[in-house]
Symmetry: C2
Subunit: 655 residues, 2 copies
């Protein structure tokens, strides 16, 4: 073999072409059989006056303007005087590339909410943002819909409030470039990619009317945790739970390279997600790869497509739910999935120095990065901002800042708007827990800590049929909690023997997906327990750490109320390892817990079964804490009597 | 909504049915279009004398016998006297359920190796075992093929050696129930599931003639890391690299529940893996779900199917390679994938107390767990062992222990047998490194540590075109190593602009997959570098810890030679975090490194660019070590002169 080390002109020079490869060597005639086709509906929608496409597109225009303004401007947010380079932030943050797609989805979802409201419904939807550094988009939509003002009265929907809002993005003392606990409606810490989808599924469990719109970036979709979480719908019982509407935002590029979905043709995407169990509908910018340009007519077409597609998706969700709730559950219900193929940085600058920006990796972060110092880039930025015609959208001198053309698509009631969903921030119902003392055994009794915990959990499961779940990657029986099986069951929907039975136990062999479920379930006001082999719980170390960041910031955010604690029980520990040997030994997570903030994370080493019950009871009733309980499966003696525990140990150290 | 908490008789009582759901609401006529059909070849093979199906099945029979014996027997391994309950191990370990499938695959792969050998080739294949606790199978095959005796002369292929071998499995002082560094041919630590596939892909990079057979259990396939790693082939250049033959072993059950692949019908599996980019061929036990029984005729059919399928797979691999190597690379080559749907615990006990064992979750761990104390189970065990007719397979009193009917499928040369592949254990070629001193700048020069490292790496890449790779989840440019782009490029095969160009840089946004690549690449004698944002490197904490276990045991295994060190460079650290904020801050991995064995793991905090170059050079030339280098992207001053570093610091602490 000859040497094959490749040579390239520069880091990125070969990446200007925007056409992905086509040849997948598969029969393209199959495409139509795997993809949901809505062509007629799309055409009909363009002339349908009941769907306010113009309003939806105007909302997008305003949100895109604000996204761009947040990234670039520290003053003159509404271009009320001639913009100068002094108005530009010195450190440009936030990623523009994903913003137009996020704004596009948000506008369509919120317009549909308004329609449902007009039909007399009280929809409660959540929006989960997967793409990294996409906060400019979400913040813009929240500002436009009035949510921002509601939670942050210091930032009213006035010219002054908007000026302050635009400046505060990624500015000292302001708001970060990722969605975090300070973002209204948010239930997911940005930063580490991979978990938005699983968190979304957790958020709708046991909330039959809840829908969470989850936008998954094509970068995030390359992660293992996301790739596994596409199976999450297989653990969602449509009778008792709501639905996730996943939108894979495949705009094709990461910072400097194409993404995997970006190089997959529609057939490959349809095959993959059909295999995952979804019905797939692709919302694609018409002919973008051929023309590499956007125009108003095509903007209308893709908006009509999305309007038709999101209605189709809601219809499919309701069909599945109706069947399940009328006693005729579908076998393997195929939930809808939308794949959005829109140009990266859509509506932004088209090219710079002969290189394309829109629709390429160059739009991923901040296009025109030298706008503050380079005159050409500055002028392009001014043209870009003006292209949204902000003077039509915002009226700084009028009583109402935001034009009615922008806001008319919103639900009339502010509380019906997407960022206002109270599940995202308004606390939780306390868990109904039995008196832990009744499970204690006499001093000297030989008992398995885990079995004792299991006896206690039976009553917790029974008394909280819709607000307590157990997420168990290593299987509940293996962790000696099988007493719970006397009162409930697994919830695997694709197994006819566990489908549609309201099971409280999820046993997917994916720590990542289950951790996401637990986070989404807890952050929307419910309670969960995560038993796991000690060695394998470390798989979600950084997820736990990111979750802790969310809680830390939530505690610093005035309008967020407490959530239930997260409780982990480690079994098969290094110190009493039974039989699995070296490959299954790893107490390392304890090291990571020790470094978490001491007001948030606790580690418990209950010495016997009595103490284990008392500890788990305490943890399940805790608020905000992340609790790590070190368990033990094999029988050992109770060192302490119920009385001694009741009197002293428990009072001093736990309650 | 009515209360839906499900009730069940017992933990598992509903799980006796062995029929998965069928209704996927998709047009089954599509199946034939997505699946590779070899029906004619299968029929032809049954009468083809050139394919030794009988020999292959006899090898399986012997391997299954030894697997069962290893799990149960501490004495009388060949049933030379009447077995008693005293002959049974007191603690039964290893998982029987997966063993017959592993032995099935091993037998077919090894028979194909022999065929290639007869054709004058010198095939070098590796076998990677995904399924947990599957060591009884792999150890059995290694014993039968003579590899075990080669590496462990204390366990010769004699009656005494076999007796000792059977007893040593999961016995104090013996061998663990997972594949680990003590297993000949192994390049992957068992225990934590999810990484076998990515490791396999790493093992074949830059080894154009290498094929790694990777068996992935359907439990493991539920993990996120595995779900993401199915895309790994998109980073494999068929011109310069070998191939992975992935075999998804979908036997349907975990410990107590069906698996996700176990509930997917063939069409869903075909769609999913077609979407991932593979050509899919399903090797299924004929009509097992209907009949729930196995017999000789069907055994022959599935063996003929596998023989045809593995030959088809090899043919497809070679077509792709030939095209790439003759200058006509295929666009998006569709590598072959085999899905094996065989009964769990195939050939084991059929039922116990009215419950099915074979083909159900009850076969997952140890069927007949009370064989040492319960007479009925003991008798069933005796029948089970005798059903393999060990007297036909082993001749304890003869010169040659193992019958020729078992061994005749093996390659003639012992060194051609699968467990003997020298890449798995025989050390590495040292990296060609330039003199690090020539990259140093004068004291006081302002320089980015990462850029200085990048300048050094340019020469490393150039001088090691086939044995050094950079795995970079957060993109090389973002980590300021883009100088490397002057000499090489990314290797993303599904992007026409980076396909087939020998790129040394892999930029998949999956830390798990890249860590697997790095492990497989390093453990087969090559060198890699893993730059990552500090906060996100923690995603693979437990993978690093499992890898360290492998190295620790490799150092204690006489016949294993050293491998190159693994080197991580953390950027965007908490302490000099630039701009990404709280969501991107997490130095926690350092805690985990501190707890690793001090003879294996090192953490480096080079204070300036000069020291960074010196440190990375040292790490890349290290043996066995796992090195964590804390980097820095922004320019800072060189505190130490080249001279001072050359004289003292370097000598005392590094070399």
């Amino acid at each position: 073999m000859a040497a094959t080390t490749g040579l390239a002109d520069s880091a990125t020079s070969k990446f200007d072409s925007t056409t992905p490869p086509k040849d997948s060597q598969l029969d393209p005639s199959l495409v139509g059989q795997l993809l949901v086709n809505l062509d007629k509906e799309v055409e009909a929608l363009k002339g349908n006056k009941e769907i306010d496409l113009e309003g939806i597109m105007t909302f997008q225009r305003a949100a895109n303007y604000l996204s761009c303004a947040q990234i670039f401007l520290r003053s003159d947010a509404l271009l009320q005087r001639d913009l100068t380079q002094d108005d530009i932030k010195r450190r440009l943050l936030g990623h523009w590339g994903t913003c137009p797609g996020l704004n596009f989805v948000y506008a369509h979802a919120t317009a549909l909410l308004a329609e449902l409201e007009r039909d007399g419904e009280k929809p409660e939807w959540l929006f989960v943002t997967g793409p990294g550094h996409g906060a400019p988009a979400v913040l813009s939509s929240l500002f436009l819909e009035g949510t921002w003002e509601h939670f942050y009265p210091d930032y009213p929907a006035t010219a002054g409030g908007l000026e302050k809002f635009v400046k505060a993005f990624s500015f000292p003392g302001g708001f970060p470039s990722h969605v975090n606990a300070e973002t209204p409606g948010a239930i997911h810490e940005g930063g580490e990619l991979g978990y938005a989808l699983a968190v979304s599924f957790g958020s709708v469990m046991d909330r039959p009317d809840q829908i969470t719109v989850a936008v998954i970036g094509d970068g995030e979709s390359e992660t293992g945790p996301t790739a596994g979480a596409w199976h999450a719908h297989k653990y969602l019982d449509p009778k008792e739970s709501g639905a996730v509407l996943p939108i894979l935002h495949a705009n094709g590029y990461k910072i400097g390279e194409r993404t995997i979905p970006g190089t997959m043709d529609n057939y490959e995407l349809a095959a993959l997600y059909t295999g995952y169990g979804y019905q797939v509908r692709i919302v694609e910018y018409p002919g973008y790869h051929e023309k590499h340009k956007t125009d108003h007519e095509d903007d209308v077409t893709i908006n009509a497509n999305m309007a038709a597609s999101i209605r189709w998706a809601l219809g499919e969700i309701r069909k599945i739910q109706k069947d399940a709730r009328s006693g005729k559950p579908q076998t393997k219900p195929r939930w809808p999935l939308i794949i959005l193929r829109s140009p990266k940085g859509w509506s932004g600058p088209k090219e710079l120095n002969g290189h394309p920006i829109e629709g390429s990796w160059r739009a991923h972060q901040v296009p025109l990065p030298k706008a503050a110092t380079d005159k050409k880039e500055f002028n392009m930025l001014v043209d870009w901002l003006k292209s949204y015609k902000p003077e039509e959208l915002f009226h700084p001198d009028a009583d109402i800042l935001i034009d009615e053309k922008v806001t008319r698509i919103l639900p009339k009631a502010v509380r019906s708007r997407m960022g206002m969903n109270k599940y995202a921030y308004d606390g939780f119902e306390p868990l109904k827990t039995p008196d832990w003392r009744k499970y204690l055994k006499e001093q000297g009794t030989e008992q398995s800590n885990m079995r004792a915990i299991g006896d206690y959990l039976v009553d917790v499961v029974r008394d909280n049929p819709h607000s307590f779940r157990i997420f168990s990657p290593d299987e509940i029986t293996s962790n000696k909690l099988d007493a719970c099986m006397s009162i409930t069951h697994r919830d695997f929907q694709w197994d006819p023997e566990t489908a549609n039975n309201g099971g409280r136990i999820t046993e997917m062999l994916s720590e990542h997906t289950l951790q996401g479920f637990l986070q989404g379930y807890t952050l929307t006001g419910r309670h969960g327990l995560f038993p796991s082999y000690e060695a394998f719980l470390g798989i979600v170390t950084t997820m736990i750490e990111q979750y802790t960041k969310f809680i830390k910031m939530a505690l610093e955010t005035r309008w967020r109320r407490p959530v239930a604690g997260l409780t982990y029980i480690e079994t098969s520990t290094l110190w009493r390892q039974e039989h699995n040997g070296y490959s299954h030994q790893n107490p390392g997570l304890i090291c990571n817990f020790i470094t978490l903030p001491r007001n948030l994370a606790r580690i418990y080493f209950p010495p016997d079964a009595n103490c284990s019950v008392s500890t788990v009871d305490h943890c399940l009733r805790s608020q905000n804490f992340i609790n790590l309980v070190v368990g033990s499966k094999n029988p050992s003696y109770n060192f302490l009597s119920p009385a001694s525990r009741g009197r002293s140990l428990r009072r001093r150290t736990l309650d």
